[in-house]
Symmetry: C2
């Protein structure tokens, strides 16, 4: 028997000035517990992913604050920058796999959150930069838009891709976000909107926004999920991998090796191939990231991810359809970032990993309304920094 | 079969101006791998405990930096303030328990570290304060000496304990540190040295110091340890518990409930009673903490921990013996903080949990020289903040 996700909840993502981080954590966790049909008091332990409440709001030691607001008696915090809550999910998976073998009926909450707009001192870009190499990148003035711009420059230099291929990723993801009421940017964009430069070649609309938000998942063993008689999705595996934090120490700038290793291991564990996946949330903190991750996860060869994006052509017709548009890979549909992705749904860094899983759970259970796609196998790739950390999860409809 | 600790390494603790945090992590990890007789390249995954490199040195996303310096391909960072590396140990334990059942031969590194003296901006007390409730404690000016002073005041008010009972804890732990070449303060102290006030009733010498340091542990399954033919200690269990972060929300100020729950669960798992323990590293960030933790862990009733300390009387003779002096509980010896404890060995917060285990491993293997005590069962209690987090571990000589 395997691991089951029986509840998934998410707040609206955005600049949520009227709520504090605790409100958000409570909101997404209540939604998750309600659709799992359990009470929060039934939860045995909690893994919380958060990048940096310490610098955003002065609060380290998040675990006992979760105890204070949700009453859970065992709470563990993990941090892996933007992959923080995927690592939390992995740790929950480990605990549950053990409890499945021991025939214990544990219920675990995974919650990821970030409140990025209420910062007390430094600016957000400075805080986020701490996820790159402090001594050689941050201190030399590097920011994440700058680091990803470097990757994008190299990509455009080495391949036949052009800036429009980057922009098309954003146009698609904005389109999907229009269909997602929890998304931050519910507004269609077109090629002519890419005007403001951020870090060449990235335009403002190639970048994900600074957001507030929280996402929660409730997990148990498949056996217990059946006893509880609740609808669930099977979590086949969560595989994590770590790479060098600095770009300068990578063998190949264009290969996100941690994403490659995590996905390869996940395919092996779940006994699937990339082409078996129907829907995936694929880390798109910048448009170039979605392309590099298509390659890293085996959907395209190195340097050929942009060709997959081109299956969306003509780009100025992407907004004509009132449903998610898939990429076409060898004749088969692959829906990527139906939620709107980090790009348009929003990117409250600690929440992102859990939020990706929320979308896939809802897709597999057919709860996504207009953006629902036909799917049986879903996945999520979440990375931290420029790929220093990665987590790849495979989910499946159990029926 | 259970879990084995096959390697334990620790740097000197102190104000280490000539080393950076990476030097420290490498040093303790090399020592651990050398006494485990393995190469760092043989390690499958790593759990790193660190409280706040982000605010001490600007670096979040510690995991991929560990990849960069040690080459380990899966690294997870946990944070639970001063209990960060005990949580890392718990997560490693979970992974190994699973791999033991699956008959996989994994080797895991647990490393805890903190570099507190190279801070880039804020003062250390302000950074540490982030482990208490930001909105209601930090913002009102509370610091950890202040919060523990509150607990000490209440203790002296409710019980017949006096300030000398607090000081005796420090005198004992300084005495032990003299025998530990890795300790920060290798200097005997006496009652007349407690002159400088920090936060009434706590004197400067009732407080643990700000320190740099790193501690590493190498773990595998007992089965594989036997195959490797290496000396090891059995790690029976690591139990964690979470409580409210704010003192104001506790039912009883004098009961560190997380330590109580973690220890009770550990006793159950390890099938022992408190009186079976021969040697324990017991979280003593302030002298009052050692007393409260003696009570929380079942060595004394609530409000009676000071009576155990009084078995050291007369306090001005503690320094006469050239070996650790035990407490006497119902006629049986209990050695507490033979390493010198946080108080005198030093307290680089993220390193502390792992460092406590290093001492117990070395005690059980008879590697502590002059401070070696006769022991078969050892334990460690590590807490975060004022007890918002706790971890209790039980270790045993396998022969």
């Amino acid at each position: 028997m395997g691991i089951a996700i029986i509840g998934a909840g998410i707040t609206k993502f955005g600049e949520l000035w009227d709520k504090n981080w605790e409100d958000l954590v409570i909101e997404s966790s209540k939604e998750a517990s309600e659709n799992a049909n359990i009470d929060l008091t039934e939860i045995d332990s909690c893994y919380v992913g958060n990048m940096n409440l310490s610098r955003f709001e002065g609060q380290d030691h998040v675990a006992p604050r979760i105890n204070e607001i949700l009453g859970i008696k065992k709470v563990v915090r993990s941090e892996a920058a933007c992959a923080s809550s995927s690592v939390a999910l992995k740790l929950a998976f480990n605990e549950l796999e053990l409890s499945s073998i021991k025939k214990e009926n544990k219920i675990i909450l995974v919650v990821g959150f970030e409140k990025m707009t209420d910062r007390i001192t430094q600016n957000v870009t400075e805080i986020l930069a701490s996820a790159s190499h402090y001594d050689t990148e941050v201190i030399n003035g590097a920011t994440f838009p700058g680091l990803y711009a470097l990757l994008a420059s190299r990509y455009l230099y080495e391949t036949d891709a052009n800036e429009n291929d980057l922009h098309a990723v954003a146009i698609k993801n904005h389109k999907n976000a229009v269909l997602n009421e929890k998304a931050m940017f519910r507004k269609e964009i077109n090629l002519e909107d890419f005007k403001i430069d951020v870090a060449t070649p990235l335009k403002l609309l190639d970048c994900s926004p600074i957001s507030d938000g929280s996402a929660s998942l409730i997990l148990t063993t498949e056996e217990y999920a059946k006893q509880l008689d609740v609808e669930y999705v099977k979590l086949e595996c969560v595989e994590i991998a770590t790479n060098t934090i600095s770009l300068a120490k990578r063998n190949d700038l264009l290969v996100l090796d941690s994403a490659k290793r995590a996905s390869e291991e996940a395919y092996k564990k779940a006994k699937i191939r990339p082409e078996d996946i129907d829907v995936i949330e694929l880390h798109d903190c910048f448009t170039i990231a979605e392309i590099l991750n298509l390659e890293a996860c085996g959907f395209a060869k190195r340097g050929e991810g942009y060709k997959i994006v081109r299956t969306l052509e003509p780009y100025d017709e992407i907004n004509k359809k009132d449903a998610p548009i898939p990429y076409i890979i060898n004749g088969k549909k692959l829906f990527v970032n139906t939620s709107g992705g980090l790009k348009a749904k929003g990117h409250p860094v600690g929440a992102t990993g859990a939020a990706q899983i929320v979308e896939i759970v809802n897709q597999l259970l057919g709860r996504c309304g207009k953006r629902n796609v036909n799917c049986k196998i879903g996945a999520a790739l979440n990375i931290g920094g420029t790929g220093g950390s990665a987590a790849f999860s495979v989910l499946r409809r159990p029926w």
